[in-house]
Structures are given as C-alpha cells and as structure tokens.
Symmetry: C2
C-alpha cells in the first residue's frame, strides 16, 4: 500500500466516546506516523479533544453526526435507526467508499457486526463472517476464531473459519502455510460433535494453503501447538473470556501472596521490574480488538470499557491488518478453495 493507511474511527462508540478515542488515536499515531484518520461523531466534542493533539488534528478529517448507537441497542434496532447517519455507520461507510482502509469502533458488538455486514457485504463464497482474536501464547501469539460473531457453526462454516484464520495468519504473521487446529474435547478422531468431525475430514483432504494439524484441546491454545485455532462462536467466546478471567484471578492471587509477609513485600520491591514486565504481558489492553473476518473491508471491535491505551491497541491492529492486505488474501484463498471444491463436485 503506497498511500498512507487511513483509519476511520467511530468517535462516539464505547463507554467513554471521544475522551478515550481521540487520545488513543494520538498514541497510535506516534507508533505509526504515516497514518491518517477520519473521526466520525459529534464535531464539537471531537474538536475539543483534538485541541490537545495538534499533530493528530493535522492528520485527521472530522465527519459530523448527531446520531450515536447506544451500547445496549439491539442489532436490528441499531441497523434500522442508525443506518446512513450514525457515527458507527458513517465510519464503516468510509471503508466501503474507499476513503478509509479500516474502521475501529468500541461500540456495541452486535450492532457493529450487523452494520458491517450490511454495508461492506460478506466476501463472495463466505457464508458468515467471524470475529478473530489474537491470543497470547507462551512463545508468541496465535489466532482464535470465531470468538462470538455467531452462536453456532455448521461444518461448512467451520471450514470457512479455518480458511479465514489461515489467510489472516499468512497476511499478519507472514507465514506461508500456517498450522490450523480444530478446538475439541479430545484429540482422537472419534471425539466431538458431528459438524467438527465433518469439518476435520474436509480440512484433512482439501488441497488448502494450510497445514491441518487435527484437533486441539483448550490447554493447547496458549501453548504454541498451532497458529490458528478454529471453533464456533459460542465455544470460542467462552474460551476467550475464561482465559481472561483466569489471568485476572491469578493476578489477584499473586498480589495477595506478595503482600502476605514482610519478606515477600521486600522481595516484590526488588523484583518490581520483573513484575512490571509480567503485568504488561498479562495486560488485556495489549491485545485489545476483535477482528471481523470475511467482509469486504476491515472492521475492528475494541472493548467498550477500555481506556486510551486499550483503544490504541485496537487502532494498531487495524493498521496492521490494513497494511497486510488480508482482505485480498482471504478473497483469493476462498475463491481458490471453492473452485477446487467445484472441480471435485463436492460443492
């Protein structure tokens, strides 16, 4: 991409609106100076926040609208009332119209998915978009999807998730043939629900640009067993939140243990650099952002309650996704897969 990457931000999304989104954009801009922004929302509020960040102001275009999607709006309601005019919609539309390379919103997940599907449309050959998360592992990171776009998935959708996750790993991590595993309750071929067993058979046999690993279990996700972990949106969401909850819980144990005795407190002071590094590694804000895959454009969902540090991570992610050319990669991988399936008469 020769031109600077432009990111459209829904400035009114999330629990804090422009007071988090604008400082976050300023943080991300320092890390990626060629970036430009389209800031969508209440102009007066956005301009007031921008006053503190002249460099950001210089590289931003403000698009005004009075309409914002409520955090608790139902997706269908949000689509009906917020289409064509809400800050969320207009930020997505900037991607559709080629004015922006990606959109980031901390708004309502269901509304963002409904509007993104309606506005950007699903990639040809993909049944349903998925939300991918980047999951920290012992040695690096892996991609997990779907973490909540759908409440279930049939075997065809699971295969598509595998393709989409692999395309993302190829684009984002620069891998030629990422390894892909299906999340299951055992690694033996006979284990699990029917749709997963069927998807496994397709992945084993189809000539795809992936290394199909087989089944993986919950404790494999963070241990670098595969580059891409594929599951349905119900299970993936629960796995992701369970891991986040466990990390928080252990942080609380650790704090309690280190405060218990004088020696422990002294030790904690000496090791404070190490604890700081650990805290940073475990900070959920470092990997904030669900990536919508399978759409004709990049949309990133930030946690609604995050601060500027967290939202800036979501902007970083959008920047990396936009620079990686993942949408093209995904489209051509999917097209190739369907061509092959049709040739085999299996589609």
């Amino acid at each position: 991409m020769g031109d600077p990457v432009t990111i459209a931000l829904d400035a009114m999304g999330g629990d804090h609106g422009p007071s988090v989104v604008i400082p976050a954009a300023a943080i991300a801009l320092v890390r990626h100076p060629p970036m430009r922004f389209i800031l969508v929302g209440d102009e007066a509020k956005i301009v007031a926040e921008l006053a503190a960040y002249p460099q950001l102001a210089e590289r931003s275009e403000v698009v005004h609208t009075d309409v914002a999607i409520a955090m608790d709006a139902k997706p269908s309601q949000a689509l009906r009332r917020g289409r064509w005019k809400s800050s969320m919609w207009l930020a997505i539309q900037a991607v559709r119209d080629g004015k922006a390379d990606a959109v980031v919103s901390a708004g309502n997940t269901g509304a963002l998915m409904a509007m993104s599907k309606f506005c950007l449309k699903t990639v040809k050959g993909i049944d349903r978009p998925a939300i991918a998360a980047i999951w920290p592992t012992v040695a690096a990171e892996c991609i997990v999807l779907d973490v909540g776009a759908n409440v279930g998935a049939d075997s065809r959708q699971i295969v598509e998730f595998a393709l989409m996750g692999a395309a993302m790993a190829r684009a984002l991590f620069g891998m030629e043939r990422p390894s892909v595993g299906l999340l299951n309750i055992g690694v033996e071929e006979v284990k699990g629900v029917e749709q997963i067993k069927e998807a496994a058979q397709v992945l084993r046999e189809a000539p795809l640009p992936i290394r199909y690993h087989g089944f993986v279990e919950g404790d494999d996700i963070g241990h670098d067993v595969v580059d891409v972990v594929v599951t349905d949106g119900f299970t993936g969401n629960i796995a992701l939140k369970t891991a986040e909850g466990t990390a928080k819980q252990i942080g609380e144990y650790l704090r309690a243990a280190m405060g218990r005795s004088l020696l422990a407190r002294l030790g904690a002071i000496l090791a404070q650099g190490a604890f700081r590094a650990l805290k940073e590694k475990m900070d959920p804000r470092q990997l904030n952002g669900g990536i919508f895959l399978g759409l004709n454009g990049i949309a990133v969902k930030s946690h609604g309650g995050t601060d500027a540090t967290g939202f800036a991570s979501a902007v970083d992610l959008a920047y990396e996704m936009a620079s990686s050319g993942v949408v093209k990669r995904l489209g051509s991988d999917v097209a190739q897969f369907h061509t092959k399936l049709e040739l085999e008469g299996a589609a």
Copy 2:
C-alpha cells in the same frame, strides 16, 4: 454415616497404576484416619506397594484381578471386554454391592463413565449423568458441570445438570440455596443458543431449592459470581482445559520474569514463601478429580497422568462426597422437581 467411609480404588487405572494409587491412599488415610479401602487389581503388585505402608495395609482389603482396562480403550470395547472382571469394573461393583461408599479411578474417562452407568445405573428422573469439577475461585470454590460426560445437552438435560450441581453444593458446601448460573456468551436474556434460553426459562419459573442467578460469562466462573456454573459437556470441557492451560502459561511467564535479572532473582528468593503458597494455590493436583453426578453411587475420575499427591486429592474428594450424603440429596431433589413438574402438567 456412622460406619467408617470405605473407598474402592481401581489400583490399575492411570498411567502409573499401583505405584501411584497405593502411596496416594496412604496420604489420604493420614488426612482421614477412619477411612477404609478396597484395592482392586494385580494382587502381587498391590501387596508389594503396601509393604511400605503398614497402616494402610491394615485398613485395606485387596481384591485380585488380572484384567485391566487400557487407557486408550474405546468405552464400548472396555465395557464388552472388561465387564464383570476388570479392576475398574470390580471397584465400581463394590459401590453397587454396598461394600464401598465411593470408587476412584485414574483410568480412561469414557470407559469409567460407560461402566459406572451400566453398573450403578442412572438416578431415576435423570436423563444423563454429568461430570462435575470443583473450580478454584478468587475467594473460595465453585462447582462447574458438565465438564465432559456428554458432547452436547438439550434444555431438559441442562436443567437436570443445574439440579445435580446444586444438590452437590448443598451437600458438599453445606449451602441451603446455592446460586446457579448458566454459562453463556452474554448476560442478556436474548443471548445464546435455544436450549440454554429454554433451560433458563424453566429455572426462572420452577420452584427449586436454588437461587437462579441468570446467565454468566466465562470470566465470571473464577470470580465468585455463582456457586454452580452449568453448561454442556463440550463447552465445559473446553472452558476447564482453557483455564488450566492459562494458569500453566502464566506460571511460565512468572518463572521467566523472575529469572530475568539479578534483582528479580534476589527478590524471588526473598519471596520464596509467597511463591510456594501461590504455586500450591495454582497446583492443579490440589483439585484433581471429576465427580460423576446422577448415578446411584459416587464415582470420581482422577487425571490419568497424576502423581500420588494428585490421586490423593481425588480420594479426598470421594471421601467428602461419600460423607456428604450427596447421592440421597440429589435423588430427593430430582424426585421433588419431577413431582412438581407433573403437578404443573409440564412433564
């Protein structure tokens, strides 16, 4: 229970057989001196191990058999070949015949469930047994089920899991009305799959000896939101293993952080008491054991690869379950529930 609690042990189960099971029984006996054991398996091997533990030998009866169930046997195969004669079967049968109050095995989970169902039979009014786990929380513990007995569950089974988990909490934690939550991908009533929404409606309206909390998410499990978390066996197994994997992963981060600099290493030495306490708290062996609920008897599954410390935890759990009268509690709760449903004409 006036008489001492007797536990039947499948001495041949698990990766290590009697060399782990016998020392584990000795550890558990120190903690619960009135306990007695029935040790089932290769008599020569068992007696050889018992030589080191005269107190245990005095309180144990050895039942000999040559047949052991392979760790990788298919449940149907295990049932066909191992029925009436394997160490796993004979240990379960001791419970059925009233000679033991509970059985513990580190053998193949599927085989143990198939044999336990066949031998002990399912409690009247329960469609399918479940496996419950005790999950450490920030402040205490909660019960999570099903963690893998079934690959799915319909709404009726989910309601039964709720009843069974609550009966276990009432018996084991001494609670009058435990709070129960259904694991879901959001806390709003409209979220989730159909069978969970249907189960929620039954739990909201039925006059049960529980406080129905509503939906909980993955990050609520460890944070003392409810006493009992109910889910299907697929999701529950993945949540449990994801949490175990995350705890292990953070342990690795912590070790790496503490070894990074001289100051950190010195701090770690000073705080070693605190680290030891933390390690113990995070040690998966402390809460080793899946409890089979819904059968006419108590069966506890230990991890196959655990050591004597881990297997001893499973024996402790069987002891507590046997002492708590959970099987009677569960039977009467279920019978009462079905009577009420029938009176309402809903069954």
